[in-house]
């Protein structure tokens, strides 16, 4: 039987992540931390801040193809974590500051959105947009170009075809 993405783990650091600044902040819509919610957040999605210092998806996931227009940060919180559901305000963790490299399954290599390009080459820029994976829409990664006007978040360091289906990127400070 074929295993479909998303997996239980969809985001995995490949460099030391503990020295990085990690932000634990409430989710603006706490119901998204309920793993039984059809729109539940999963690790490897991209988040941004709202005016109340709460985290929201970086792009509109009502439909696929919407780009993130604000800086966004990777969600390092697996769906259904007890420590998230145990808090009244449902705090989740994003990678906030520092340079990082990680692998993710939450991307669409074929997507060609706005001024971007499909993900085809190493060191290509990536940006955040709403993408469809297994019939659901997530805030994930798509290919970008230097002409993109919306924020880019990193560069491809290993292509999925060479990495067991995982997209490896580096980002944060000075990518």
């Amino acid at each position: 039987m074929a295993v479909t993405v998303p997996y239980v783990e969809n985001f995995r650091p490949v460099r030391d992540i503990l020295p990085l600044e990690r932000l634990s902040a409430p989710v603006a819509d706490p119901t998204l931390t309920d793993p039984s919610n059809a729109a539940a957040l999963i690790d490897g999605e991209w988040m941004t801040l709202d005016a109340n210092y709460k985290l929201v998806r970086a792009c509109d996931v009502a439909t696929a193809g919407n780009e993130a227009s604000l800086p966004s940060f990777p969600l390092w919180t697996e769906s259904g974590r007890f420590d998230v559901q145990a808090t009244a305000e449902r705090l989740v963790t994003v990678i906030w500051m520092g340079a990082w490299e990680f692998e993710t399954l939450i991307f669409d290599a074929a997507a060609d959105i706005g001024l971007g390009d499909p993900i085809t080459t190493r060191l290509q820029l990536v940006k955040v947009a709403s993408i469809t994976i297994s019939g659901k829409i997530y805030s994930g990664l798509v290919g970008a170009t230097s002409s993109d006007t919306n924020p880019t978040v990193g560069r491809v360091t290993r292509l999925p075809a060479d990495n067991g289906g995982w997209l490896r990127i580096r980002g944060g400070s000075g990518y």
Partner: protein
Amino acid sequence: MSGSRFNSLFNTRLSEPGGKEKLAQLGGSYIRDKLREVSFVRKILPPEQVTRNDCQRSTKHDTLVKIVDVEPKSRAMVLNFRGKPSANFIRGPRAEVGFFTISSEIFQKTEQELLAYEMPLTKIIEENSVKDIQEIEDREFVLHIEAAVQALQAEANSAASAPTLNASAIGSVVEFSVRKGQLARVASTDDATVRPVQRQDFVEGFKLLDGNRLRAERGLVTEVDFDDVLSWTVEDQGDRIQSETTVDGYKYNTLLGRPYIRTIKTDILRPGNIYFFTSPEFFGKFYVLNQTKFYIDKVANKITFQAWEDIGMSVINIASVRKIELYSADATANDADSLLSNFIPVAETALGAVNNRVDQGLKFPQVVNN
């Protein structure tokens, strides 16, 4: 021992083998900014120590939960001699209590700058960190009990969420788990003014629980609301208590036969909100997985310290908490009067607001150091 001596010794000891464990001295005098109070949730839900062996893992992530059994339902029945009782294939509900961390800030200072303080800075922060952590416990608890009373109120009104409850809505809302106080009920406007608590408010609070095969065993009230008890008249208290109260204040641990807990944390439990609880065995659980730990380290001349604990807290039986509101405005999520921020705990980052104005130069007489 003076504070400056403590700071100096602190630096020395941190550099010695085993020195981190030896830092337990007291000393110094300094101006305190505010009263600090131990946790009130620990008086309502006494914490139970648990270990990893008491908890369950998940197959999907690396966090822990403790599963708690809830009493199964049962009943008896009348039969004639040839009758047969109905069957009950027993099933007891179970609830999960998740664990999370409460931490202080990561405090940092250089060895040299620490010498500029005459108060034992590190000791003060260590002691205050424990109370800071307990403040967050209380804030989480208030958010949980508020969610519980509103959920039950919604159910009683056959609504998806609790209906607006302000003075204008009295009579159209079933006040099952949240009830307006006696003076708030007759207010002419829906406002944030906290009316003085009346004897009848406590009685109505008790009855919210006592009428449902439960018993109100304790109340939680702010110090400022409880101050209004001192204004109760001889008709409320009788002449003996009235005389005592006039001289000594109200000095009993019970009010109308029930224990109560007073708190000065009015930025967490906002004035005008009085909660009533059953005894803990009907109510919920407060588990401590890791007691408060204090970490301190010195790398070169930089000192770093942090405190944290790992706990789980859950209102398992939401019917075991009820609330009286002493203000006439709406305090549901509907925020019908746009005054909700007056009634709910302030943001975590806004806790611990500073009372003194020393940094702004406001102290008298003004003495300027040039």
